[in-house]
Structure formats: C-alpha cells, structure tokens
Symmetry: C2
Subunit: 242 residues, 2 copies
C-alpha cells in the first residue's frame, strides 16, 4: 500500500485543508453559477481581490485560470476578467455541476439533467447489450446479488446499485459516454440523496434491474434500452422528480 489510498476524485476531507487557489475557485465558481455575478460582469481586479481577501495575486490568478478552463470566465488585459455567457459554460463539468448544486439548483437545472439522463442511460444500456463480455455479465450479476441482499436502505446496497450502473457504462466501451454519464449520475445521486426516506414506501427496485440485466445478458440492445428507460422512469417518479 505504497501510494494513492485517496483518489483525486474524492473531495478534500474535512481534516485536509484545501489549497488556497482551490478554495478561491470554489467560492467564485459558486457565486458565478449561483447568479451573484451575471454574464458580462467583471470580476474584481487582481490587485483589489488579493488585497481584500488577504491572498496573493498568484493564488487568485490560478483560481481564475481554473474558472477560465471551465468556460465560466475569460480574461483580457485591461478589459478585466468577465463572466462568460451561460451557453459557453461547461455545464457537464463535475465541479461546475457541484457548484450549481451547492448554490441551490434551479428547477430548470434539475429538469435539464434528468432529461439528459433519460437520453443517456438507456442508450448506454443499449450499447452495453451489444458489447458486453462474460466478465461484464458476471460482475453485473454479482452487483445485483449484493443489491438484493442488502437493499437500498443500506450503504452497501446503494454501493452495489451504483456499481451495477457503472458496470453498464464500462460495458459500452465508449469513453465519451462514460464521461457524460458519470456527470449525470453524480447529479442524480446528489438529488436523490435528499429525496430519500421522505417517501412513505419505495417500490422494490429489483424487478426493473433484473429486466435490464436480463436484456443486456441476452444481447438485446433495443430491449435493454427500453427496460432501462422504464427503470429510470420508476426511480424518478419515486424520487419525486418527473
């Protein structure tokens, strides 16, 4: 166990103090996607911000570079750093999505993502049915077993559920689809985390999952697509979305 017990994906733990530039990027990012800055507005100048916030110009600049890389702002000498209009934002970037969520997601934002989910995940199931190999199948089967054993009330059960969906993505052999679905499912997870337990009784999720798995196992692409669509529709209505 020489290295990398913590992955770079994991959000900085509460103990680890975040890098300064990272914190600045986070704060500005939340403020921007939250609408406290409007497209066309100019961010505070380097001199001013660093003085007011008690950080170095270096740290502020690196934060701006991050925001710029995600399409939220663009800098021009003398003109200053302006907020880009929303059409150029990298809406599917995991950080941007997280900031949106933290800023208090609008209903339109959530609707957009759940629509995207309905487009993407059934398509993923379809590709998975056409490209999966034996190992994919056995792993999916194992994930469903665990899910059935623990149920969605336990952490293990939810982990097995997520694992099942990740295995489907992996079986598509399409990296761009994986990237996209990762972002989408992250938002879905954040959303349903809060919606959970408020419902009186949730339906048994296993029949839907079994149907998807069965279609993928038999290599039936179109059927896998439709079964996944049904699964999402049920899950979404249960979570109060849709």
């Amino acid at each position: 166990m020489t290295q990398a017990d913590d992955h770079p994906l994991s959000r900085p733990s509460s103990t680890t103090q975040r890098a300064v530039h990272d914190r600045i990027a986070h704060d500005l990012g939340v403020a921007i996607v939250g609408g406290r800055y409007q497209p066309g507005d100019i961010l505070p100048g380097e001199e001013r911000y660093s003085a007011e916030q008690g950080v170095s110009r270096t740290a502020y600049r690196e934060a701006v570079r991050v925001l710029s890389a995600k399409g939220l702002v663009y800098s021009r000498t003398k003109s200053g750093t302006r907020i880009t209009d929303r059409l150029r934002w990298n809406m599917l970037d995991l950080d941007v999505l997280a900031w949106m969520f933290e800023a208090g997601p609008t209903a339109e934002f959530l609707r957009d993502i759940f629509e995207l989910r309905i487009v993407v995940e059934p398509a993923a199931a379809q590709f998975a049915a056409l490209r999966r190999d034996g190992q994919d199948i056995s792993r999916m089967g194992h994930a469903l077993e665990e899910m059935r054993r623990f149920g969605l009330q336990t952490a293990e059960g939810r982990a097995a559920d997520q694992s099942f969906h990740r295995l489907i993505l992996h079986a598509t052999r399409n990296e761009s689809l994986i990237t996209l679905a990762t972002s989408v499912t992250a938002v879905v997870a954040w959303t349903t985390r809060f919606a959970r337990d408020e419902r009186k009784e949730s339906r048994d999720p296993m029949p839907d999952h079994d149907a998807v798995f069965d279609a993928i196992m038999r290599g039936e692409g179109e059927e896998a697509r439709l079964k996944m669509l049904a699964l999402i529709r049920n899950a979404s209505t249960d979570a109060g979305m849709l």
Copy 2:
C-alpha cells in the same frame, strides 16, 4: 463599436500572440491526450520545466491548473503532478476534444463521438419539437432557405446548415443538452471538413433537413427524432464514417 469584436470562443488569431500559460497548457494537453504521457506518469517539476522551456514557474503552474481543471492531471506535494487515468478526463471539454483531434484522433475516439451524436442529436430534435415557438420555426425556415440557395459547397451554405442545427438545440430549452451537443458537433465538423470533397458526388441534403424541420414544426417529437436519426445516418455514410 466599443468592445468585444472578437468573442472568446474564437481561437486566438494568428496575429495575436497567445498567452504563455495558454501555449504551455496546449502543448502539454496535446502531449497527454496524444499518449506521449501515460496515466500515472509524472510531469516535469516546476523548476525543471521552467528552466528547460525558458518560461517562468508562474506560467507553468497556471498551465497545470488548467489541465487539472479539465481532469487531465492532479498535483500532490512532493508526489509531483501526475497524469490522471482516462476515466476522469473531461472528454467532452472543447479544448480536450480539440487537443485529441490535433494529436491525431484514434478510430475509437471518432467512433465514440459519432455514437454520441446518434444518441444526442435525435433526442435534441425530439425536445425541440415539443418546445419550439414561432420564432424558432421562422428562423429554422430561414436557415433552410439559405442552405437551399447556396448549397453545402459554399461557406454560406455550410453556415446556414450549422445555424439550423444550432437553432434546434436552442429550441430544446435544455442548457446541458446544448453544451453537450456543441462539443459533439464541433468534432463532427472538424472530421467532415477533411472528408468533404473527396466523395465523387454527395447526396442532396435538403430532403432530410426538410423532413426534420417539418416534424419539428408540427410538434411531432417522435417523428422528429426518427427523421434526425435518418439525416445523421445519411450524412455519416456520405462522410465515410459509420
């Protein structure tokens, strides 16, 4: 004409010299997505790189922040800056896609994007059919007129074609879908730019476009989806993809 004749989207013109950190990010980005660095490899240290390349540590660090924001690398003190594994890359970032294309896109990469196109654009047409208003319709109609008038051999005709597809996206009223489709169509445009003119004679694209427009105008979602699917299939086979 006081400001902003050039949009931030436009690539820096040949006259404007790019910022140093931008050039570094570009060079490293191309090298990374091109496989000259493998996931797990460590980038040169700040001191070393800045000395060898004759740039400041500041510029190099800002470039690394950009790459980090796009998920290509991650930095840890002492451990150095390492290449992230591909699953965490922001494959749908416009810069990353451009770097992939510049590095010489692999066949799998192109296949992935065109598959994504087949998933996304028909879905966009479907949503557009359900949400478009009168202004959307009239603008789409105008774009098709222009396209018919000039043909795809001219720059104006191609601009009208792109405009038509952009208008469909706009009519979806779904920002995440717009972001996604923007990236996808960029890659498609880069690809077909080279494939053009090599074919002996391209089929007339207007019937397919008219059919999509007609379905959207009548508000027939499912039909719009199918017509767009047909349009893409024809265009892709003409371009030699698929």
